[in-house]
């Protein structure tokens, strides 16, 4: 029995080989190179590179820019993803309880999600512009006075979060709606009741049944959100005064503007370490019974 099985295994590996080799050469090798760079003092502005062990990591961990970027990224992740989940779930419940939804409505809600990120950053930069943006104008009409969305440090972070919520709530919505539609119909037949029973139903039946799908949606969203770059790069470039300087923007500036390869690589690996820790914790659990 072992013989044919082993040869079948080899066949399977053969099919996987082209993709495996490709990924190794184009992605894994550069990451290993980056790991090496992070253990040196490599700068593209200086010809001499020498091995410094973990010194670069030590300097990253005591670097106030790095720490503040990590904190900003965490704030961004927690606030934006919580809002996306809550709004997306509410929308999904609302769509599910309609008698019919036209598929066009779903296709339309997919547009913010698929839209080119630089264009997304561009239109929000236009709408939030303090001189002629429609959002400050609406704020003024509603009596909030002059709000400098992109010039005030706190409002700039709020702007980044609003943009992200706009772009990614449809992601939560579509996955959670697909999940709700997979639930047995009886769950919803019982739902046509007064408010308190409906809430009870939501927390004691719908949510537990949806636990795995919610886990999948959140895990994927966190994974994508950590990589957020293009939209914020266009909207604020990390400003004003580094108020929206997410970790990806910091790495880009250190590596490609200041050409401090060692520092950028060490930062990348620390981020990667956090992502891996997070994913080892969630994905194995969430995807295991897929």
């Amino acid at each position: 029995m072992k013989g044919p099985n082993a040869s079948a295994g080899r066949h399977g590996l053969l099919f996987f080989l082209p993709a495996g080799v490709f990924l190794t050469v184009v992605l894994i090798y550069p990451m290993l190179y980056s790991l090496y760079a992070s253990l040196t003092n490599m700068r593209l502005t200086s010809p001499i590179t020498r091995f410094v062990g973990l010194d670069t990591y030590a300097s990253v961990l005591t670097n106030s820019a790095f720490i503040s970027s990590v904190v900003l990224t965490l704030i961004f992740l927690v606030v934006a993803i919580s809002l996306e989940f809550l709004i997306g779930f509410a929308l999904a419940l609302s769509f599910k309880s309609m008698r019919k939804t036209h598929p066009i409505m779903r296709a339309l809600l997919m547009l913010p999600l698929m839209a080119t990120p630089v264009s997304v950053g561009l239109v929000w930069k236009l709408m939030l512009n303090s001189d002629f943006g429609i959002i400050p104008y609406a704020g003024q009409q509603l009596g909030f006075g002059t709000m400098l969305w992109l010039a005030d440090p706190v409002l700039a972070m709020v702007s980044v979060i609003i943009m992200d919520v706009w772009q990614w709530t449809p992601f939560m919505f579509l996955i959670l709606l697909a999940g709700l539609e997979g639930l047995p119909e009886e769950v919803f037949e019982a739902a046509e009741v007064d408010g308190s029973r409906a809430l009870h139903l939501l927390f004691h039946i719908t949510l537990p049944l949806m636990a795995r799908i919610i886990g999948v949606a959140l895990a994927f969203r966190v994974m994508f959100a950590i990589a957020t770059f293009d939209t914020v790069f266009v909207l604020t470039k990390g400003g004003p005064a580094r108020a929206t300087d997410l970790i990806t923007l910091l790495i880009q500036r250190e590596g490609l503007v200041n050409l401090n390869v060692a520092l950028a690589s060490a930062m990348s690996f620390l981020v990667l370490l956090m992502v891996t820790a997070f994913s080892a914790f969630t994905f194995k659990r969430v995807l295991s019974n897929g």
Partner: protein, 277 residues
């Protein structure tokens, strides 16, 4: 259905509310498209202009001054080539992982997912250095290779979930008919994987079409695809709002066309096949 007991006006209000919410989500995109046809004065007016005489001045500007057609062709070449290369590598890999008792299969699948978790920015710095060393810096080829590398883990996992749904009897019947594993893939699995391939192709095409960071870092001048050109409009001595918006709309058009026509294939791709949509 329980909902039928509901009062009709309540149902109507519910539908209206949901339509309004969808409209709210679409507003920024609509505002952008309107903006691309507004004159400079209307665009920079302190109070929003809703009704205006459309003008094509920004469209003339971007085609006359920014060589949009050239960058458009670059974008098309990169996205189409990336899509073909990705699917060609991903389908056999997905088939191998879905069907054969490969040693350490779960570990491989998890590794593939981990690769997808590398934030592209973490890879861009070393890729920038290595691309210069091997002479691929400032070529369309490097964009195709890198976009493929970044999309491949996604494509393998999605296709694997589709292949797993094809009944094994199909493979067995083909094998009994004398097919070698490769022709089973080619003759039996490939035709049955079409919905999965479409799902993957749409996402891979759109993601490589939208890709900004790698393109902005690894190519310059005439070889740039469209997204970095939008970036250019933003930094050029103040912002040329009209042309920037027109260009932003040009980039979005194929994305919208694809999303709109193929959305029914796409729900599943959002979670790499983990939730069947």
């Amino acid at each position: 259905m329980a909902e039928t007991r509901r009062k009709p006006w309540l149902e109507a209000a519910h539908v209206a509310a949901n339509v309004a919410l969808v409209a709210l989500f679409l507003f920024p995109l609509a505002w952008m498209i309107l903006g691309a046809f507004k004159s400079q004065a209307d665009l920079l007016s302190p109070s929003p202009v809703w009704f205006f005489t459309p003008t094509l001045e920004h469209w003339h500007f971007i085609f006359d001054n920014w060589n949009v057609e050239k960058h458009l062709v670059n974008s098309i070449i990169v996205s189409v080539a990336t899509t073909i290369l990705t699917l060609a590598l991903a389908l056999p890999a997905a088939y191998g992982l879905a069907r054969f008792p490969v040693k350490g299969k779960d570990a491989i699948t998890f590794e593939i997912l981990s690769l997808k978790m590398i934030p592209p920015i973490a890879a861009v710095v070393p890729l920038f250095i290595l691309a210069r060393q091997v002479g691929l810096y400032n070529t369309l080829a490097v964009l195709i290779l890198l976009n493929t590398a970044f999309q491949l883990p996604f494509a393998i996992l999605v296709l694997k979930s589709f292949v797993e749904e094809i009944p094994r009897e199909i493979d067995e019947a083909a094998t009994v008919d004398g097919c070698r594993p490769f022709s089973v893939l080619w003759r039996a699995i490939l035709p049955l994987s079409v919905p999965g391939l479409i799902c993957c192709a749409v996402f891979v095409f759109i993601f490589s079409w939208n890709e900004f960071m790698i393109a902005n870092t690894l190519v310059g001048g005439d070889l740039r695809p469209l997204p970095p050109i939008v970036g250019l409009a933003l930094t050029h001595r103040g912002i040329l709002w009209g042309p920037a918006l027109a260009l932003g709309v040009v980039v979005l058009l194929p994305v919208f066309a694809l999303t709109f026509s193929l959305s029914r294939y796409m729900a599943r791709g959002l979670t790499f096949g983990a939730v069947k949509g």
